[in-house]
């Protein structure tokens, strides 16, 4: 197949705001999380989605894996509508698109050992029981973890190790597409680099298609070939990563780049204390 592996066509998502009373009298407003997103992801593409909280980047991720249904629009997995595929709950499409979450402590079941977490996932993929243990260890090795971690429970792991177990679990399904939602933002900087290097290696070695959602422009620059900048549910700029970051055209992209801490080089002469509206609740900001 030569078409895009993942396409989003006119995706919108809105949520009801206000009380039941407001709805009764037709006074409710809808909060628009995504305002018509269309994009295509080619096979083995490594795409970074950046934006601040409220930009809709996580909603986009959840819709892409079928965790959230869009209000309108269609997600196509290899040309097939996700809405149709989803009627078959445990169908083979599930395996093909996997997600790694931001919070490594709540993404793992605290009562299941690393080994059990992985073998259960392998069972879902249909790996015969006698092979699961060995395959689980192979998955751990793939993410740079030793076999000695297999019997441990999540709380006995460091944050970086938990994050890698989360990745190993997603990769155990042998997905074609991995969607990683802020996978390193809860990690210390020294561990961040380990996970970013690992993702970079996996995309090269396995030809994995990666959607990397982050607020950290420098990490996206390191890992991704393409970048999509989102703000308030819209794509404001996109293109090859280095081009966009070197020559941003949209003011919001420029603002994001200016806000990246730059050490002693970044000492600002004039303090900017403009009270700009929060992307989440602009209405409240401007209210007296």
């Amino acid at each position: 197949m030569t078409g895009p592996i993942l396409s989003l066509r006119g995706i919108t998502k809105s949520y009801a705001q206000g009380t039941a009373f407001d709805r009764l009298f037709g006074r409710d407003k809808r909060f628009v999380a995504l305002a018509g997103i269309s994009l295509e992801i080619a096979r083995s593409d490594v795409v970074g989605i950046v934006g601040e909280s409220g930009s809709g980047k996580s909603t986009l991720a959840n819709i892409s894996v079928g965790l959230t249904r869009p209000t309108s629009g269609e997600v196509l997995l290899d040309g097939e509508p996700l809405s149709a595929l989803m009627r078959d709950h445990g169908g083979p499409w599930r395996r093909r698109i996997q997600m790694a979450f931001q919070d490594s402590s709540s993404a793992l079941n605290p009562r299941k050992s690393v080994s059990r977490c992985l073998t259960e996932t392998l069972a879902l993929r249909g790996v015969p029981k006698p092979e699961r243990e060995a395959e689980a260890l192979a998955m751990l090795a793939l993410v740079g973890l030793g076999a000695e971690l297999a019997p441990r429970l999540p709380h006995e792991l460091s944050g970086g190790q938990r994050q890698r177990v989360g990745l190993a679990r997603a990769l155990a399904m042998k997905p074609d597409i991995l969607i990683a939602d802020e996978p390193v933002s809860s990690l210390d900087v020294s561990l961040q680099a380990q996970v970013i290097n690992l993702l970079s290696r996996l995309t090269r070695e396995l030809g994995l298609t990666l959607l990397f959602i982050s607020h950290d422009l420098a990490l996206v620059r390191t890992l991704c070939s393409r970048i999509i900048v989102m703000r308030k549910g819209e794509i404001v700029e996109q293109g090859p990563c280095l081009d966009v970051l070197d020559r941003p055209t949209h003011p919001y992209t420029q603002l994001l780049i200016a806000a990246v801490p730059k050490g002693i080089k970044g000492r600002r002469q004039q303090a900017a204390t403009v009270d700009i509206a929060s992307p989440i609740s602009p209405a409240r900001e401007s209210a007296g």
Binding site: S158, G160, D188, A193, P261, A272, I280
Partner: protein, 332 residues
């Protein structure tokens, strides 16, 4: 000045705050004590901005909570002195400490959401602080609160006093907390990861605000962060902590351009830039030491690329060379 008045500088010309051999430990299940802060020394001059940088578990926040005498059980200070204005804060009785906390030394925390009482208006929370430390009327406290809110860049401050925390965005909540912290014009502001929960653009605004308050009001600042690049934008000096110890300390330019401790150099190298060639990141292999499993020698020795036998056997002393102090057997 009466006994309840503000302490003035003792005129010795010494630092505003001097932390000496500070140790913090947790009581462990077997009755022993596990140390998380293992002898921290550094000082802050009046009006100076100092960044305390380290990863989680480095002991940076615990040290500052110990300075404020805000440690909760099972953590407790197990040694050292915290000299502020010529007296040891650790030796003060609670009433005298309470008079200093919030008035002479104020602290701002990471999560503005949980630092504010959701059931009280912003104005009430600021005036409570003012009236705890100053004999002023309700109207005067309200005027001071409005002035503080204005000072931190919140427009229509008079009206915003009656708002509740949920009506503020994250960035505005952090501004309100800073307003509360500066309402009594403290001489030292301790900001513990004040921007970590915020978006990058808001983070930049809060950092600028803290720099501006320090410049205009002459408040000394201790800025705790895991992000060296961020603190380097506004501080004069950086203290790098690892495994409950200060491993390097000096002027920000030297720390950023010519660090001597391998950890400081790697800490910078593992954070990618927005310029320059793209390639694999410098990763520090392994993980920070866990509480109760501190290496016998240098805490960074299990991860250090320059490790020699001496590093594993003995903790190097913090020694001064030129403008830096560093604790390393094999400085770079």
């Amino acid at each position: 000045m009466s006994g309840t008045g503000r302490m003035e500088g003792s005129g010795t010309g010494g630092p505003l705050l001097r932390i000496e051999g500070l140790r913090v430990g947790f009581r462990s299940a077997d009755g022993g004590v596990v140390e998380a802060v293992r002898g921290v020394d550094f000082s802050v001059a009046a009006g100076e901005a100092v960044g305390v940088v380290g990863e989680s578990g480095s002991g940076k926040s615990l040290s500052m909570l110990a300075v404020m005498r805000l440690l909760g059980s099972p953590a407790r200070t197990t040694g050292g002195r915290v000299m502020f204005d010529g007296q040891d804060l650790l030796a003060l009785d609670e009433a005298r400490m309470r008079a200093i906390r919030g008035r002479d030394i104020a602290m701002v925390f990471q999560d503005p959401q949980s630092s504010l009482n959701p059931a009280l208006t912003i104005g009430r929370q600021i005036t409570d602080v003012v009236r705890a430390h100053r004999q002023v009327s309700g109207a005067e406290a309200r005027r001071i609160a409005a002035e503080s809110l204005e000072r931190v860049g919140i427009r229509d401050a008079g009206k915003r006093l009656d708002a509740y925390p949920h009506e503020f965005s994250g960035g505005m909540r952090q501004r309100a907390l800073i307003a509360m912290a500066i309402a009594c014009r403290p001489r030292l502001l301790i900001a513990d990861e004040p921007t970590t929960a915020l978006d990058v653009t808001v983070q930049a605004q809060i950092v600028d605000l803290i720099a501006e308050l320090r410049r205009d009001l002459g408040i000394a600042v201790i800025f705790i962060s895991h992000n060296l690049q961020l603190v380097a934008e506004i501080v004069d000096r950086v203290v790098v902590m690892y495994g409950g110890k200060v491993v390097e300390d000096g002027p920000v330019e030297a720390i950023e351009l010519r660090p001597r401790h391998p950890y400081t150099g790697l800490l910078q190298a593992c954070v990618p830039n927005l310029t320059g060639p793209v390639g694999p990141l410098v990763a520090i292999e392994g993980a920070p030491p866990r509480l109760g499993r501190m290496p016998q020698g240098c805490p960074f020795s299990p991860r250090c690329p320059h490790v020699v036998e001496a590093c594993i056997e003995e903790m190097p002393p913090l020694e001064r060379e030129a403008e830096l102090r560093f604790a390393c057997w094999r400085p770079q």
